[in-house]
Symmetry: C2
Subunit: 627 residues, 2 copies
């Protein structure tokens, strides 16, 4: 029972899990786990750079005077600690905030965006307004409206209340020469001194379960100016959507806390993007937001509880316009946040954005989109009809529930190959750092290679006889050492029997989603002429390996396109084009949601799909000859 | 120099001014001044009922422990003190809040309202919504909208964000049988369990310079249910609109403070009206607001600075819809506040409401409205054309700037008559209390009677020889004792030469406004077929006396109608009828504002009108024979 005093720490957002002795100083634990954190003073409690956030204060030693000096009251309240001054007492989760990190996460920000005609909801117009006099006593707003009508022939009847409060001073300080920002041809939302017509910007926000990304665009020409990104700070409340829903549903206070975390994250990424392009927050006049339905609800502060309970219906599905200030988003105080519509409880605004950005809704060709993540959305259709479903693929491909799994950050193995002759492993890590673990794409590679080398069979079982010394048995459980400590890894990096089971479940979930949709439309893989792979880690996967393990249907590689963050691309398109918003709204109403669990074949199909690549090899003609 | 240590205190909202020795305990000062305040413990610092509000903390002794115990932190911050624990050090103004008062103010709440077809912007509908199931996964909002469409054939696309947040729980707790409140046929603003269709209420708010009144109406039938009223707490910053503008224009913080005072006042009157009718604040779904332009701007938090600077233009003149919660008004959180339009910097939404409630905009008969107050609005017109102006009549008729003047509260003389034979004075006080001073109507009576009795001449000068012992000369200044201390008054109640000058200026201002408008339209008093007297004290004046001193044009009494609080009546009409709001909006655009100061005849006409009743007696044929 020497493990009795060992405590498990999970470090977020990397998801690294490790055991330590009770009382270990967090800074030492981080070093032991091979994670880097800023610590300019070397752990003397002086620099205040090694900030961490703890979820449950009781799991740690009491706050010290050094911490009270270096951390603000609000930080202390939010669970901030200094890693060098705080030791661990119980199993706990620790979040390393952006500011304390020295490694960079490999985040897929780009998405394939189709060109659209720039037609934002924002319009800036320069006007010289006649000054008031005793013979012209029209109100400030009236003369502004009259000037717009005289010069631009438009009648704008509404004015934002927050702007109105300051309008008299703005107009007079500007000597009645101002630039007016109009929202949706109906509301005046900003008035600025001088001619600032060319300074018109907006941000598209993609709120993923694991990351928040901001795309700052120039609304005069639609061009992407800069980006910002951040791990979703909600990871404190769980990796997957279900845990987030469960946490936010506990009480109104938990929901508020969850919402605040997301909003804080959104503010951070917007501010990062603005800083990169040296723009003031007040120059952001419009926001579009996409995310899965749970993130969508939590972002809006809407109860997500019933998303997690059968029949999993969202509170709201149509598009929403909310004043950014009502969501505490720090941009121009009168800016509007346009939240894209969702399709169902588990097919969100991100899926709608996928459909918008790939354009499958207007294509003659039958297309499929697989947007991979903790939940994987599968969409199938063309201009006539679209069906969609959600697969509970789980976080295995994000590195969770896999012994040596980790997120795609510095030190993660992202590609690997096993030599079928000598079982030697060649690999590549992110940033060519010392290998620390396996990210999603390497996990797929590992399983595919083990299968090819016949170290595992089609049921995922390790070979009975050890074909190589890399195949080890510990406590009756087999595992394959990919990179040992001796070979230069920070720890023995391996794939266990349990890991392979996790991958089988995950890939079966995705494949079954694809299959059920094809069955619904009564089509075969050969009928699919366009296959889009989207999602944060999608771009990095080896397609042949993915097909070999049966994760994707057997579609010719030439028909497959990586579209990266397609949801973000859709959000950007909706930002710069009102037409795209209307398209998104009509898509959300038109798509037929398929509840997989209700399909009579689902259970059987899922079971068949857990086999590598599938129980029925006829479904994978291109790899059939390998077996 | 025995007066050196005497300090002047002004008690608001009654406007009583008196001198006291430095160090006097406020509770004693109040008693000396004949003002009553709650003090259940008799001044022992125990009951905490004698709350007062001081404007400048430095003018008073330090806060005591007793006060710290009885007053909340927020009260202490807002300048609350206990009258029994606080003594005066400097000249100061003290506000006695509603809760501490024992006297009731004679407030004119009623206004003549014309019957209108009830057509509120609020509509409540009961719906039974099909429950979600795995085969019907429409979102909560969608199924709500679909049910409204199925049952009532209406398409409502918007939903208030604050409501949306709680919607999933409301629907499920109500077992999907709910009453939906729809605003303006376009936004769902409330969803309540069960059938509450008949519980639909709204409030009309009249924000006057000196008072705030709330009219709570049943929106199903338009009937008035209850009222609430309060002195405008802004009186701390001055009696008249100009002082209020000056104060609120000092800084953004002063504006916020002024706005908060009005909003607090509005919340108080709404809550009073709700309590009287045993209604919850959440049953108030709509608000209409009227007030003069300065109150309108301050209520909205809009900079009123330029209202006070030539050319006196408002920031905004059109009608506005603002969420009540954005103004911190405590009613249903999704209620809308509709603020009626204004005409000019000194002709506000109250004047628009006067025009709506009297209906002169649709009349064939040429009509004039005089809405008396610190500013008096004069409106002249018919269905073809309307002109309006504002007269700086000042607060004389509200009791300010007049030695023994006071507001129309208990103890004020409201009517009086001087016997021309023996100069004896008969009078009536409000609530038949011991006479304390003169309110506006009695001031008019006094001047008119002194003129009739020839104690003053047409120039307002007191007779040289004392015709009665009531006419006294003190320090070279003449005054007429109306009720002496010996006759039972709390002090010698008199009219001084200076008081008469104040009245002459005030009445000349009103008359000149009426005259300039008539001149503009090239008409004579005989052409006016309807003359409406509106305003808080309007109903109590003796019309013959008002004409005798030349305050109103010489119109036959049969053509004159008292309409009381016509502005409040207009606000109520706009509350229960959307049509009336549209009428108000079109009125505000159509009315021609006349800037009196720009009229070439103004100065001369004003001077002629200071004479009693007028320098040119031909303008007052009906009283000409008296002189």
């Amino acid at each position: 029972m020497s493990l009795k005093n060992l405590i498990t720490l999970v470090f977020e957002p990397d998801g690294v899990k490790s055991k330590f002795r009770k009382g270990t100083i967090i800074l030492c634990a981080l070093k032991e786990a091979g994670l880097n954190i800023r610590s300019e003073c070397g752990g003397r409690g002086v620099c205040g750079k090694c900030k961490i956030i703890v979820q449950d204060a009781l799991g740690f030693s009491a706050v010290t005077d050094a911490e009270r000096e270096r951390l603000s009251v609000s930080e202390l309240k939010s669970g901030y600690r200094l890693a060098c001054a705080c030791s661990v007492l119980k199993d706990a989760k620790i979040f390393i905030p952006e500011e304390s990190r020295v490694i960079t996460r490999k985040l897929l920000i780009e998405g394939t965006e189709r060109p659209v005609k720039v037609k934002p909801t924002i319009r800036k117009l320069y006007v010289k307004i006649p000054k008031p006099s005793l013979s012209d006593i029209r109100s400030d707003v009236q003369r502004l409206q009259d000037s717009l009508k005289d010069i631009y022939k438009i009648e704008i009847t509404e004015i934002d209340h927050t702007l109105l409060k300051k309008l008299p001073r703005i107009l007079r300080n500007a000597n009645w020469k101002v630039t007016v920002t109009i929202w949706d041809e109906k509301e005046i939302i900003s008035v600025e001194p001088g001619d600032t017509v060319k300074k018109s910007y907006g941000v598209a926000i993609d709120i993923g379960t694991s990351k928040i990304i901001c795309y700052l665009s120039d609304l005069t020409n639609g061009e992407l100016v800069s980006t910002g990104s951040l791990e979703n700070p909600q990871v404190m409340y769980g990796e997957d959507v279900i845990s987030r829903i469960a946490h936010a549903s506990q009480s109104d206070a938990s929901l508020k806390k969850s919402q605040k975390l997301v909003i804080d994250g959104v503010n951070t990424v917007i501010s990062e993007a603005c800083q990169k392009s040296r723009l003031g927050l007040q120059n952001i006049y419009e926001i579009t937001v996409v995310g899965n339905t749970a993130m969508h609800h939590i972002f809006l502060g809407v109860q997500p509880k019933y998303l997690g309970l059968s029949p999993y219906v969202p509170a709201v599905s149509g598009p929403l316009n909310v004043k950014a200030r009502d969501l505490s988003i720090k941009v121009n105080p009168s800016a509007n946040a346009h939240v894209l519509p969702v399709i169902a409880g588990f097919v969100g605004a991100d899926a709608v954005a996928d459909i918008v950005s790939t354009g499958i809704y207007e294509s003659d060709k039958l297309s499929m989109i697989v947007d991979m993540g903790t939940n994987t959305e599968v969409i199938l259709g063309d201009k006539h009809e679209i069906v969609a479903c959600s697969c509970a693929s789980g976080p295995a491909f994000e590195g969770a529930h896999v012994k040596c799994g980790m997120k795609a950050v510095t030190g993660a193995i992202e590609k690997l190959q096993i030599n079928p002759e000598n079982y030697e492993v060649s690999y590549r890590t992110i940033e060519n750092a010392k290998p620390m673990g396996l990210c999603g794409s390497a996990i797929i590679d590992a399983v595919a290679n083990l299968l090819k080398c016949k170290i595992i069979d089609r049921d995922g079982r390790f070979a009975d006889a050890p074909v190589t010394s890399r195949l080890k048995t510990t406590n009756g459980t087999k595992s394959f050492i990919l990179v040992s400590r001796e070979e230069g890894a920070t720890r023995d990096i391996m794939i266990t029997q349990k890991d392979i089971r996790e991958v089988q479940l995950a890939k079966a979930a995705i494949y079954t989603g694809c299959y059920i949709l094809m069955k619904r439309k009564n089509i075969k893989p050969a009928d699919i002429k366009k296959f889009y792979v989207a999602g944060a880690f999608g771009n990095y996967i080896n397609l042949e390996n993915a097909k070999l393990i049966g994760m994707l249907p057997d579609i010719p590689t030439k028909f497959i396109t990586f579209v990266g963050n397609a949801a973000g691309a859709g959000a950007r398109m909706a930002l710069i084009s009102k037409t795209q918003r209307q398209i998104a709204a009509s898509i959300s109403r038109k798509v037929d949601y398929v509840e997989l669990a209700l399909d009579p074949d689902f259970q059987r199909e899922f079971a068949l799909a857990t086999c590598l690549p599938h129980r029925n090899l006829d479904r994978f003609p291109s790899v059939k000859n390998l077996f």
